[in-house]
Amino acid sequence: MLRISKRAIATMALAVPLAFGIAWSANAAEKFKLGMAVGGNTCCDWMKSQGDVARALAEKNGWDYIELSNNNDPAVALKNAKIFAQEGVNAMIQFNGQPASNPAISQAMTAAKVPVVTYDIADPGMYFVGIDNLAAGIAGGEQLGKVIKEKWACNPDLVVSAEGAAAGIVNEWRTGGMRTGLKKICPDIPAEKWVSFESQGDAAVGLPAARDLLAANPDAKKMAVVGLNDGGVLSLINAAEQLGRADEVIGWGQDGAFITGDNVNPHLAGSVFYFLEGYAVYAIRDVIAPIAAGQIPPLKAAADNPASRVEPCPVSAEQAKAVPVMAERVAKLLAAPAGTTAYSLFCPNK
């Protein structure tokens, strides 16, 4: 009868996994490898879609692709960058909604000699790919100003800013830009009518602060809302609906995340599409593909001098009905010829 000693079992228990591992390592081929760190905030579909598009484009280019989620957590974002470096990626793309960890990520990736593309929130050590936030803010503000001028003769009770301070200068450009744009059309709105609250750029998270603002302004009826993004603007609109005060609220968002599909809030008069899901087209076309071809582009890290600029697309809610929902946009974008941007495919106001 076959007898297997405990020592033999223990040896096999260690040897089999090691043999599998060594075999796996031997099969690993040397290809250009792209790492993608998605934002990982459960608020927004586009964060996942950014990864889906990057993955599909990487596969089209014949590259290896690794995707990790930052879980909207700065420590996880740093850990992910180190994993990318360890896994030998040749370049990395990230959307880091918690940019406080960017200096440490930049240091780690510089040491590992891995170029990093960052979306929408600039860092001195990373290629910046993103929207012209100030231009997008001003464009949205002007559009809202036209609506306010037509409906209320530029005389709202309040102009509410849904801030997202964590985004830093991006918030100042977008939200501040919207105020600037609105003032261009309606320059005489008195200073005391301009109020702000911290929405954190999230419809659910910003709801309590929005309710507080409405409670502090019980007589305000005609309210214009601007903000960092659609989610932030919606937090005020949703709070007004909860309190039965949404009849005369008009919001204009940024990023276009909640302006398509069947359930668009009727008080969201418009938004500025960035087509966030399609950023990888810009990043790969202008930064990653040249790196893969051995032609490393000069580091352009500033938001006002980006490695690749995404065009803003302001649309009214009516115009947005012609824009496909995100899943459809992703499918059409991936079916289009290489380098085609979502802006060129879907923006009704080109």
Binding site: A13, V16, P17, L18, F20, G21, I22, W24, S25, G40, Y65, I66, E67, L68, S69, N71, N72, D73, P74, A75, V76, L78, K79, N80, K82, I83, Q86, E87, Q98, P99, A100, S101, P103, A104, Q107, E163, A165, A166, A167, G168
Partner: protein, 337 residues
Amino acid sequence: MTDATVPRSAPAPAPYIVPHHPVRELLTGPVASIAFTVIAVVAVGLIWVGPRFLSFGNLGIMGAFLIVPLVVGACAGFALLSGVVDLSIGSMVGFSSALFALLLTLNWDPWSAGAVTLLACLAFGAINAIAIVGFGAEAIAATLGMLVALRGITWVLLGPQGAIFSFNPGLSDLVNQTLFGLPLFFLVAIVLTVIAAVVVTKTRFGRHVQAVGGDDRAATRAGIPVRKIRVAALLLASLGAGIGGIVFTAQLGSAARATGFGLEFQVYAALMIGGYSILRGGVGNPVGGALGLLAVAGVSNILDLKAISPYYVNIIVGLLLLAAVLLDRMRGGDAYE
């Protein structure tokens, strides 16, 4: 007169002494199930990922990420053992990180900034202790209030930008130092965990903590200073969170609103997987808690290295938690302890 006679009492049975059996204790002891889970995770990692799973580079990444949860978990474990759950530890980490970063930007030297930060955290820990021990407040309610309050204070400290950038190359180099290929601070955190385990299992203080958590009335009757023990445990929990926040700032070069957010759930889930109980004190061992953190980090790392959707991590952590609860019941739960 009845003829009844008082029965003579039977001789008392000899006390049953559980035979000392090291191998059986190893297999059925409080950290056995989590130890086997970690071994299983390592085996799966080696088979599926390959030798790089146990490479120093990969272990270093996991280690660097685990420093804060290990320190926070080792210290918060004392509060759990003493029968009080401190929900404010995540917010305390965020507060500590923000205050330390703020002081650095005001040109304080890191040692002074660290000392003041830890004192501030101890002060908030003392408030927790006064509420829970002094006034008999429900621990979950009191520390939930502290969680919210500290989050607000953190936001005030961070200002409208929501972040303080305090990148200090010297501090970054210090926290990124390695020894034998692993992060020095990770090894320090492991040593701290072992010290905590020795304190829990081998010292009078540790036995008192377990006794207080197991049955505070019995502990009182036995002359154990229940109130002092719980105060000390809550202060330890806040001290650990304070250290965690400082390490976070040193690692990230900044503090942000998201720092420490949800960390209490991450740590307590791992501690429960490692054998602690949230609702009954006196149960658990710091080594088990550390192994729980290692198991979760190992699973997460395998999914990362296999480029599997990160959204599955939470499912697996949840299943591990359920398995830990099931194992706890299978081995006898309260009766076992």
